[in-house]
Symmetry: D2
Subunit: 349 residues, 4 copies
């Protein structure tokens, strides 16, 4: 591709962990320029004060969200707290700016918001306009979308692993269990008693048992991807790591499926995908290996004694689980190589 | 209790993590003396060389197993690698020494050993003589037993949590899933690529998916405790902590059970137990809180949308999951207070 | 000792990490009862809500500081933030309550407070009345003191290691360097950006370089213990652990001292001390080994090429560095066994 | 630069952590191709088996060292255990292959090897031919060198920080103390009791006190860089992190130097260096921020009370402390941009 000037994009919510990861990725992106760094708090600080690791941005200033001249950018990444995105995003799209929203404001149906997020959605008419940005499953919808709802961290490996198997009828939809394990960076930068090192080191804790807002997101996206309606039980756990998610999914195997069929389904489905790695017979997915990448590792196992399939997925929650996938979607939307600016080799060990 | 001389016991396998924890506990035990410290390797080393933290034992010597004069002890803790216990244990019991075996050699049925441990059991006639040492569930069998098979680490919180609910018919036996998360100390002291800090820090890894030897142990003990036959799917995970296990169990709720019934069952069952803490409506079980204790924390939750019960358990795998429960069993076997030498307040944070 | 009723003590500042550790230790103390749990914030909460690990105290309530009936206790542990202790402590002592103050309000000279703590001392006349509670070095002053200023965490291993060697003239006082490494629990329970798991995991950070308030404390106590005046350079570092401090001290060796002399000095000085362990020729001090104990490990090494002595110390900062030493001092003040309620075997690994 | 075909290089010792990091960096290098992957053990394994994170190399095979056709490569990175490099390296250079040796076999004088490495150097005539590869200090020697001895991890930040200040006479050479803190990856991939997660988590340990082989390396390079002869005391510590080193150096300030002079010296010295960041008045160096980069952060502080300068340095020990600096040197040797293939933004948090 011959490109003279890079595409200017805004990063709104640039002072959080996801924002910082976007800036790190964009610094190495051949075709995109992070032209505006907006924040809903801490405006006026320099990037160097908040994120000393982002040395190339050290003297840039975090600006208030409303200082953005919408005509100056072609796209925007929006990484704002739940409930803060909707108004910002709709304004941007109305002004012709294409948006990848990394929050939860456009991922569910209108009826889900009161129960799972605790508020009525302020712009329900927009919910059907947003493409769900799980790239490998919804590429046709994303490519021309004015607005992409980037998936939550947990749903990404769960859906990449389960959707092809449910669609193929190899895993039965009833009674699926999703057990998630995540590092703390997914909970954001604000310090709390939970994120205190002395609380988390040595700890493993289930939380929001059966009540996590990624539950309806998984169900809705599963329906959109496969046509299958299901209700799953999801229990996330916080483990003492910074980056990385492992999801372990349990579902009954169809009586007509042989164990090798499930592996074949995944292998075939993702054979040409640069960011999905199906592991067969060797190491199991491990997010440590994926630090800093946009890769999702998957494996599938069948417990024949119990008739149960186990699908394991791993990602870097700030990579494929947030900023990485957002850049992948932008690449798709703007016709760049889908791998531009994205790593496939993790920083390991 | 008026006791003039402490009861002399042997610790066989004293140079591993479980052995060290036994020595730590026995040093504070009012009625027991660790009279013999046997090892299957490293004989001749001083305790101080191998475990500098065990300062009161610093000048004691690890002796070869066969140096034990069986007449000199009344009981023995045996913490030897899988397959190494059987011969040692049967000799001891034949000589009148009461044994708590912390390995897996007496926990299963004869038919299970080839499949799950990879060897034919050398003394199958003994398998039915061993009491299964999950204290709270099998107290009557333990009190007079010559040989107690101390439970595996994972089965302890799983069975304490699930057995009363399955027995009460509140959780249905079909399709139960057990997702375990454990620190590395459960894998022993020998250094491996897996236990290398650079491998484990930042990692979460499923292992022996559907093939872990604690699976038949849980099923067999469940049958013994409740009369219910079931096949469960068990996936353990290694997380970057040293001590501590969390087990998250998923089972379908009986259509006739209300959510509060499950909590009531657990609460009632363990109301008088000093080492089982049922948490209701507040914090969820967290092994960090239990470091160094013999306590198991439990909670139960019902995902009504999906008709699924979630039972969470936590222990210190070297405490209630190994050495602590072994001491609890010894206390029961010898008529000491069941809490002698055992802590209920964890070292926290 | 024959004691019918335990000695009632107050714990003021019971909702912090040091307070919690005091409660843990007192629960196992044979002669002391934690009769009052006072806090400067969070009054009204139950202990169970704030510290679920302190199960035996679960239903006790944290009370406001001024709810204490001073006549109801014989002693008080005061663990309040810097600047908050002085008024509380002087009131207690005036009322006849013997106090161990775990903060910094009585450790320095009047002239030091503006520079190092940023305030003028409100009760300077009291500064000379407080015994400095480094038990092994100041036992005669502590035994009858109405008020004991429990040492800071860093000064404890530094002074135990250096004072005998400086006093013996084996280490020269000019140019001593103290490099400290501490876990996060020493910084308290309040969550901050620094204590966020995502900030600290993988990090090693020097802080308050040359400006830490433990610098004048070490100098003043060194003068009191040895008669030697010196100025040292102290740089503390935060490392990603919860409990534990290592201090590495560097000082020029006297030209007349042989390397073995330094080891002999420490060994001889602490031969009969239950809580100081001098390690010679084997493992170096490691706080991991001391988790939950009141022990200080020391070692000394001479770099003959450079004429430099290196003195390494390790403690559990919440044990010998705070709550443990406070209980040791109380034991001394009330004529209990100095080891009552205190562990010497750490929870390891 | 217009380059049609990438430069073929060998990586010898490719199965260790340093080898893996070289492969990660070379995969993103615009002008270099890792044409041969040699190992001294594990030959025959695929890269995918040993390092699943190196997905682009998954099907490449680790070959025995002697399978290398020296005519097929223009350069070689050699990352072999101490004592194993010398013969391999001299052969390569004799065959016209330019070498960056990442081990210690060419860093010291002949007389140092028996004392510090425990063997007589097998090819002492070569010791003066090797350029010392601390890029910023020895660029003129490196650019044309047939053989570059890449520095040890600890010496890198120590020398970058101290050399300009010693050379300027602002820090006096007598009595300098270097206190190092390192993550475990510097000790290599082979599992040992020390690198066991259960040993290291929660631990801080001094090791090889005054006897670490980087001591003479620092002294020799300091003499080469500044003309100043000195003897320093170096104590390294192992801390529970994977990547990252912090070095805290203490030296007496010249009576004629003002504090601001030291900062100015460093700032001026490294103003144009892309991989050295001098931090003034803000955050102190922290290796967490440098994960995956080739950057060294430095700061300098003066403790005026004690007349002592404190120079703090931080690097990623596998980056600027090993593989990163090796690539930087290769870039310099082959006329590539010195920053090719090297990151300056760390993966954070």
């Amino acid at each position: 591709m011959l490109e003279i000037t890079p595409t200017p994009v805004a990063v709104l919510g640039a002072s959080g962990y996801t924002g910082a990861e976007l800036l790190r990725l964009l610094a190495a992106h051949p075709h995109v320029d992070a032209a505006f760094l907006g924040v809903h708090d801490a405006a006026g600080s320099s990037v160097g004060q908040v994120f000393p690791h982002l040395a190339p941005y050290a003297d840039r200033t975090f600006e208030p969200l409303d200082a953005l001249d919408q005509a100056s950018v072609e796209a925007a990444f929006v990484a704002l707290p739940a409930g803060r995105s909707a108004a910002v995003v709709t304004d941007l799209v109305d002004a012709g700016v294409r948006v990848v929203d990394l929050g939860g404001d456009f991922r569910l149906g209108e009826e889900d918001y009161p129960d799972w997020y605790g508020f009525d959605h302020p712009a329900p008419a927009w919910l059907d306009k947003a493409a769900y940005g799980l790239t490998e499953l919804f590429r046709p919808q994303i490519v021309d979308a004015p607005l992409v709802a980037n998936p939550g961290c947990y749903p990404t490996p769960v859906l990449l692993g389960l959707a092809p198997l449910v669609e193929a009828g190899q895993i039965l939809p009833a009674g699926i269990v999703v057990d998630g394990k995540s590092g703390i960076s997914g909970a954001g930068k604000a310090p709390t008693q939970t994120s205190h090192f002395a609380s988390l080191d040595g700890s493993v804790q289930a939380y929001r048992i059966g009540r996590h807002q990624h539950t309806p997101e998984m169900e809705r996206a599963m329906r959109a991807a496969t046509g299958v309606d299901l209700r799953l039980t999801f229990v996330p756990h916080l483990v003492p790591t910074v980056r990385g998610i492992v999801t372990t999914c349990y579902g009954r195997v169809s009586p007509t499926a042989r164990p090798a069929d499930l592996a074949a389904t995944l292998e075939h489905r993702y054979a040409d995908e640069p960011f999905v790695r199906v592991l067969l017979g060797g190491p199991v997915p491990d997010p440590k290996r994926l630090t800093g990448t946009n890769v999702c590792e998957l494996s599938v196992h069948v417990d024949e004694r119990a008739g149960m399939a186990v699908v394991v997925g791993a990602i870097d929650n700030l990579g494929k689980g947030a900023a990485g996938q957002a850049v992948q979607n932008l690449n798709l939307m703007f016709g760049f190589h889908e791998t531009d600016g994205l790593a496939t080799i993790g920083v390991y060990p």
